[in-house]
């Protein structure tokens, strides 16, 4: 077995300040560099002393990888790079690179504004930190150096979220970050190929939960907002600038349009323009519905949602306001809350988690008399609702991912110890991660004959000992289809067709336009001579031989005619 050392510097058996150090094949990689909002002192950042005592950070670490823009995964990055002194490369996806500084700036402003912290990273530091970032594309193999390579996979969860495969020689680790295995209103489901890593490090926030349908939660949310507005109340939705805010905006915008509602909806941050700009810019990262409708109408160009002005809070009549920050701990959202809290017709909807000490946490735990500054007591008469729109994989989703990636071992992080214990047993039962000779495998082992000795070793070990790289054989086939439409549209038709026919298999439409069914990859290309014909390039591995043949014969029969 290769030696892979994993040291969680944060979010090992809890949530917050995600930071995991992985040592693989002599390389050291830091996965995420988050902060914990529950603390205001040193404890808010991961304990970097373990790394700093190994000499200069830049010499010790080969790279830092950030999975997505949430602060519990990137909030300590400027501190780490500009104050602790890491000067090496930082990898993240393009959307994360674009959005990360907005949230870091937001966080800095709150820390300085609310707590008056002087010894905090500055705007300049955020910028200098972002200059060290190398942005990566999905499925692009990035060579960090001659030996270390990384590859990003789609993770759902939030715009730009990615899972990363880290590979040194024949050893590899996959780190999921946060991910979601079910598509939501604006993002698709996480997907990874059968990369068979030595280790899969997966989040386990909902390790013991099978979550209810998100549609139900959305219906509930709309019903509550609608009722409040109908009775003439004002609805406050505290949010962080990016992420859930956009999802809820789409939800309300569509509902308002459908119901022909007139009550104004405002977004108060001033950041919405930029946030929405990024959702437009990175449209390929959103889900199929949004991409599809983008041609007719951009979902992020809102008709009903307008910029908020502070004076609007005093306007009579119903309204819905999205305001930052999301935990009601400072700034605009808190100001509006104080103004509206006394009226029972009004409502506040908390769409996310709130840390202890924030007003959001207090009202969610049922406290109705809040002591404010100057010993004033604020009586909360407004309705308080909690709607979780959290986008993590549940137990079923985690199992699904383990099944997709087929790792040798699984390491659970970013969750609670007790729940992890339960999930551990489930994974062991279901996948029998320990070698099992009875389980059919493509290759059980390799017999090495050397120095008059015979040894039976794992195939990975054999590759390592002999210094060979793994080759993967893929069957390929070309299927000609008569279809005058553009290649993307043909691929879309192929996807819809296969989705309806192969219900028991995982059919995916990737952001680059290709379609996958398990390990089978289908790409549509134009015919060099006949513009009315498209060529489907199909390839599959030995393991999926049967399915591959079945699928090609299906495609050869042609696609069903689209309803006009």
């Amino acid at each position: 077995m290769p030696e892979i050392r994993v040291t969680p510097l944060g979010a090992g058996q809890d949530v917050g300040r995600s930071c995991i150090l992985v040592s693989i094949g002599g390389k050291n990689v830091m996965l995420d560099c988050g902060m914990h909002m529950g603390f205001n002192d040193d404890r808010r950042f991961p304990d970097f002393s373990y790394i700093t005592r190994n000499g200069r950070l830049t010499d010790f670490l080969d790279c830092v990888i950030i999975s997505h823009f949430h602060l519990d995964h990137c909030g300590a990055l400027p501190y780490f790079s500009e104050m602790v002194g890491y000067d090496g490369p930082i990898y993240m996806t393009h959307p994360t690179q674009a959005i990360c500084p907005i949230l870091l700036e937001d966080y800095r402003k709150i820390a300085v504004d609310k707590k008056g912290e002087a010894n905090f990273f500055t705007s300049q530091m955020i910028k200098d930190c972002m200059k060290k970032v190398v942005a990566v594309h999905l499925h692009q193999t990035v060579q960090v150096d001659d030996e270390l390579e990384i590859k990003a996979y789609y993770a759902g969860h939030v715009l730009g979220a990615a899972m990363f495969q880290i590979k040194v020689g024949s050893e590899s680790v996959v780190y999921t970050g946060d991910y979601n295995m079910t598509p939501d209103r604006h993002l698709g489901a996480a997907w990874i190929d059968k990369c068979r890593p030595n280790l899969l490090i997966t989040e386990s926030t909902y390790a013991t939960t099978i979550r209810d349908s998100k549609r139900c939660r959305e219906r509930d949310f709309l019903k509550k907002v609608h009722e409040a507005v109908e009775r003439g109340g004002k609805v406050l939705i505290p949010v962080f600038a990016l992420g859930r805010a956009q999802e809820l905006c789409i939800l309300l915008e569509t509902f308002w349009e459908r119901m022909n509602l007139k009550a104004p909806i405002y977004f108060s941050t001033g950041l919405t323009e930029k946030a929405n700009h990024y959702y437009k810019l990175f449209i390929t990262w959103t889900n199929q519905k949004i991409r599809k409708t983008f041609v007719q109408r951009n979902m992020f160009e809102f008709k009903h949602i307008k910029a908020f002005d502070r004076a609007f809070a005093d306007n009579p009549g119903p309204m819905v306001v999205f305001a930052t920050p999301g935990m009601l701990h400072a700034g605009q959202s808190l100001q509006i809350f104080r103004k509206w809290a006394g009226n029972e017709k009004n409502m506040v909807i908390m769409p996310g988690y709130c840390v202890q000490g924030t007003v959001g946490h207090k009202i969610l735990s049922g406290q109705r008399k809040l002591e404010m500054e100057g010993r004033q007591v604020l009586e909360v008469k407004m309705q308080v609702e909690y709607m979780s729109f959290s986008a993590h994989a549940d137990a079923k989703g985690i199992m699904q991912l383990v099944g997709q990636a087929e790792p040798e071992s699984v390491l659970l992080v970013h969750g609670e110890a007790k729940k992890m214990e339960f999930l551990k047993q489930k994974i062991e039962q279901e996948f029998r991660l320990l070698p099992d000779a009875k389980k059919p495998r493509l290759l059980h082992g390799t017999l090495i004959m050397k120095d008059s000795n015979f040894r039976l070793v794992s195939s990975e070990q054999a590759l390592k000992e002999l210094g060979l790289a793994e080759h993967q054989l893929r069957f390929t086939c070309r299927v000609h289809l008569h279809d005058p439409r553009k290649e993307q549209e043909t691929a879309m038709r192929v996807y819809s067709h296969l989705k309806s026919v192969l219900k028991e298999h995982c059919v995916q439409h990737l952001p680059d336009g290709s379609v996958t069914v398990e390990s089978i990859l289908i790409q549509a290309a134009a015919h060099s001579e006949d513009p009315g014909t498209k060529v489907l390039l199909v390839s599959w591995t030995y393991q999926d031989e049967e399915l591959g043949s079945h699928l090609t014969s299906l495609l050869k029969k042609g696609l069903p005619q689209a309803a006009s």
Binding site: K109, T269, D314, G357, S388, A417
Partner: protein, 823 residues
């Protein structure tokens, strides 16, 4: 403890003791412990226990066999340790045999809960707090805790293992506080049993064949000698140093990194370094035994020591320079350079042995360059400092990396193959090159430095991070260039370089990478700030496309670049360097449009960075009396304040107040200086009456902005406004005579508006205010009280212990599945 908290405490304890009522998150328990720590540090723990018997109840309760969460058990262990830190409270807890039940074999130590790392960590931290007095030492010996700590040094949890090592250091120090302090000559055989046990354990570990055990022992010693400089450390080192020296005889040297740390810790200790006769020999021996990678940090540590034999320093410096010597040798540099760089004068190592593979070569060179960069500015750096060879080696490395060097030897060829295109080495070498600008060098080498910098700035292969460092190094070198005598201009040499550099800059300002455009603009801003007033630089800049391109970048899609362009344009304009091609000598024609353009950015840019940059430029312009501003200052201030006051970014509003303060100072005069020799810059003649003085401020509507800002939802804005108004009130007092005679209805209406704003209402603008009304309102306000309230952080109420207790109690059972989530 205040009565409210005392009332809530029993409920809290029963919640914690009830396994059916899980506490929401660890942060609450951590914060509770913070609170108990404050209380026990400020007063008697015994009293706390007696006044709050529920605490004792909790500690007893957690010992009962039950399905208690590990986090509550860990919390209780830490709390018990904290309370027992005071000897009387320790005795009180001992009476009930509570401590042995918590920390002894019968406690969690022997139970299933011990498998949870948080419980083991709580156990260690509890003992760490408890070990403060002699009774605690006896307790530790009696309950066999020390043996458990030994085993925890190798714990699977890194944090538990590290804490166990720290605890051993603490116990050793505590046990020797009394006996050995009084008798410095006391040998280890006469030390207390507890200390002897720890020393024997360390000895055993040092003799072990297992590297992890050796590492643990070395780490314990490093921490001990780093924190404690009592005479007993001398005795301890005397006993253990032969064992440490034995480690050097092994091949490879085990736990080399920890060994280096220990030896440096000993060398830094004033007690040990002065007395330990064999120390310098051991250090010298270690330097020669370790691999170049391992020896580097030791060599740097030796060179940083204040007192150290010269021979050892020379050896250390030679070790540090070895890789660079190797580079120079391999690339066949002049032998003179080699001699002065390699202090050993011979026995030079070859590339094959020192830099055998790409990974080793890159790693070692980066480390060496970083070590030298740290050493260069120190007063104790080796003297003479081989500036010229170091410059030569760094330039050579940079050329090898860029592929422009053409080594003739095989070794040079190998190096070239390793280094070409290596961004890591390029970054390290450019950083070091920048640091070397602090010293001088032969003209020929400086020419080479500028040439290699230009090569990097020009090369299309330079990555954005490398370019940024190349810009920084370039600025440092230009800054250090000797100025032409008498005219404070750049020296002709640097001038020549500048002429070549300026055509490169436009290419960088047009780069598709925002990082490069931004670094280029930052560099430009620095250059203008430094040489904007000098004729040669001005001519060269004006002849280039740079000013025009900079202006175009005001509309860059990336907000960081727009902000940097605003700063650069502000500088260009201040120095009269903003020109149009048609009228290079009369830039005034376009100046107004820049003001308009910046105002446009301030009112329309969707990002905070460019708007903040504009405010910074405007404030600087007002301060410097920029031509555009000086023409009609009042109109300028009024417009800027009007836009800034509407901004959603509180930092822009705060900067608006900064600008208002500058205007205020210019109108009323600066705060009086107490220094009789202070040079007072010329200011406008003070207005004869207060009303006359305040009128311009009223006309620009400064007061409405400041009064509104006083109740801003963002605290720094309110603070700044409060300071501004307090300054204003102090200034008005200096005018004397009848003040604040505004008509009563007007004053009342302003005061009513202030109350509305305080309540969070926006209301109608006040419009023009008469100076008398302003003064009257200022007088009636409790600005000092407001300043006091604003000085406290706005979450102080939520952070209070009472709020914490309420939150923990309220949360029980209230949060469902989403008790933890990302943000």
């Amino acid at each position: 403890m205040d009565p409210e908290c005392s009332q809530l405490l029993p409920a809290l304890c029963s919640v914690l003791a009830d396994p059916r009522q899980p506490v929401a998150d660890d942060t609450c328990l951590e914060k509770l412990l913070d609170w108990f720590k404050t209380i026990t540090e400020a007063g008697s723990s015994l009293l706390l226990l007696q006044e709050n018997p529920c605490l004792l109840g909790l500690l007893c309760h957690v010992l009962k066999p039950q399905d208690l969460s590990p986090r509550v058990l860990s919390f209780s262990l830490r709390l018990a340790g904290m309370l027992a830190a005071q000897e009387d409270c320790f005795q009180y807890l001992q009476q009930g045999e509570l401590l042995p039940r918590l920390f002894g074999e019968a406690g969690p130590l022997g139970g299933a809960a011990w498998t949870a790392p948080s419980v083991r960590s709580g156990w260690i931290q509890g003992l760490r707090s408890l070990a403060r007095h002699p009774s605690a030492l006896c307790f530790l010996a009696d309950c066999g805790a020390v043996d458990t700590i030994f085993s925890l040094q190798g714990d699977s949890s890194l944090f538990v293992a590290s804490a166990a090592g720290q605890l051993l250091v603490h116990i050793l120090g505590l046990s020797l506080q009394g006996p050995a302090e009084g008798h410095p000559g006391l040998q280890t055989g006469d030390w207390p049993v507890c200390a002897q046990k720890i020393v024997s354990h360390i000895e055993e570990s040092l003799r072990s064949a297992a590297t992890p055990q050796i590492t643990q022992a070395l780490n314990v010693l490093t921490t001990t000698f780093g924190h404690c400089h009592d005479p007993w450390t001398q005795v301890l080192w005397g006993r253990l140093s032969p064992l440490v020296a034995c480690l050097l005889e092994k091949d490879p040297v085990p736990a080399a990194h920890s060994l280096v740390d220990l030896l440096l810790s000993v060398a830094r200790s004033p007690v040990l370094s002065s007395s330990s006769s064999g120390l310098w020999e051991t250090l010298a021996q270690t330097l020669s035994h370790l691999s170049p990678t391992q020896a580097g940090p030791l060599a740097l540590g030796i060179l940083k020591l204040q007192e150290c034999p010269q021979v050892l320093r020379a050896q250390a410096f030679a070790v540090l320079l070895q890789p660079l010597t190797c580079v120079l040798e391999a690339t066949a540099q002049a032998p003179g350079l080699l001699d002065s760089l390699d202090g050993t004068g011979g026995a030079s190592v070859t590339v094959d042995t020192l830099l055998p593979s790409k990974a080793a070569c890159v790693g070692l060179l980066c480390r060496t360059l970083a070590h030298l960069e740290l050493l260069q500015p120190l007063p104790q750096r080796p003297s003479p400092w081989p500036q010229a060879p170091l410059l030569g080696a760094t330039v050579t490395i940079l050329r090898l990396c860029s592929g422009s060097a053409t080594p003739t030897s095989d070794a040079g060829g190998h190096l070239c193959a390793f280094l070409v295109g290596c961004v890591r080495v390029q970054r390290a070498a450019l950083d070091f090159l920048g640091t070397l600008s602090q010293g001088t060098g032969p003209r020929e080498l400086v020419t080479q430095v500028f040439a290699v910098l230009l090569e990097y700035l020009t090369s299309p292969d330079s990555s954005p991070t490398v370019l940024k460092k190349a810009f920084q190094a370039t600025f440092r070198w230009l800054q250090s260039s000797p100025e032409t005598p008498g005219c404070s201009d750049l020296d002709p040499h640097a001038h020549l370089f500048l002429r070549e550099l300026l055509p490169v800059l436009p290419k960088r300002l047009c780069s598709p990478c925002w990082e490069v455009r931004d670094s280029g603009l930052e560099f430009l801003t620095q250059m203008i700030g430094r040489w904007g007033g000098q004729a040669g630089f001005r001519r060269a800049l004006l002849a280039s496309e740079v000013p025009e391109l900079t202006e175009q970048l005001l509309r860059d899609p990336e907000s960081y670049v727009r902000a940097s362009a605003v700063a650069a344009m502000g500088q260009l304009s201040s120095q009269g360097l903003r020109v149009t091609p048609a009228s290079p000598e009369h830039p005034g024609g376009q100046q107004k449009s820049l003001l308009a353009e910046l105002l446009h950015i301030l009112s329309t840019d969707s990002e905070g960075f460019p708007r903040r940059a504009v405010m910074h430029v405007f404030t600087q312009w007002l301060r410097d009396g920029h031509a555009d501003v000086a023409g009609d200052t009042e109109r300028f201030v009024a417009r800027v304040l009007q836009v800034a006051s509407q901004d959603l970014d509180w930092e822009v509003r705060a900067q608006g107040l900064e600008l208002a303060l500058v205007f205020l100072e210019q109108t009323l005069g600066r705060p009086s200086s107490h220094c009789p020799y202070a040079v007072t810059p010329p200011v406008a003649a003070p207005p004869s009456s207060l009303a006359q003085a305040l009128r311009p401020l009223c006309r620009v509507q400064l007061f409405e902005f400041a009064f509104r800002a006083l109740f801003d939802c963002d605290r720094p804005v309110a603070q700044k406004s409060c300071d501004l108004l307090l300054f204003l009130r102090a200034q008005t007092a200096s005018y004397g005579g009848p003040q604040g005679s505004g008509s009563v209805p007007e004053v009342a209406s302003v005061e009513a508006a202030l109350q509305r704003w305080q309540a969070g209402d926006q209301g109608q603008p006040l419009g023009y205010l008469e100076p008398e009304v302003v003064v009257a309102v200022l007088r009636s306000m409790d600005l000092e009280g407001l300043r006091g309230a604003l000085a406290e952080s706005s979450d102080r109420v939520e952070k209070s212990p009472q709020s914490l207790l309420q939150d923990v109690l309220a949360t029980v059972g209230a949060l469902g599945e989403d008790e933890a989530d990302c943000y």
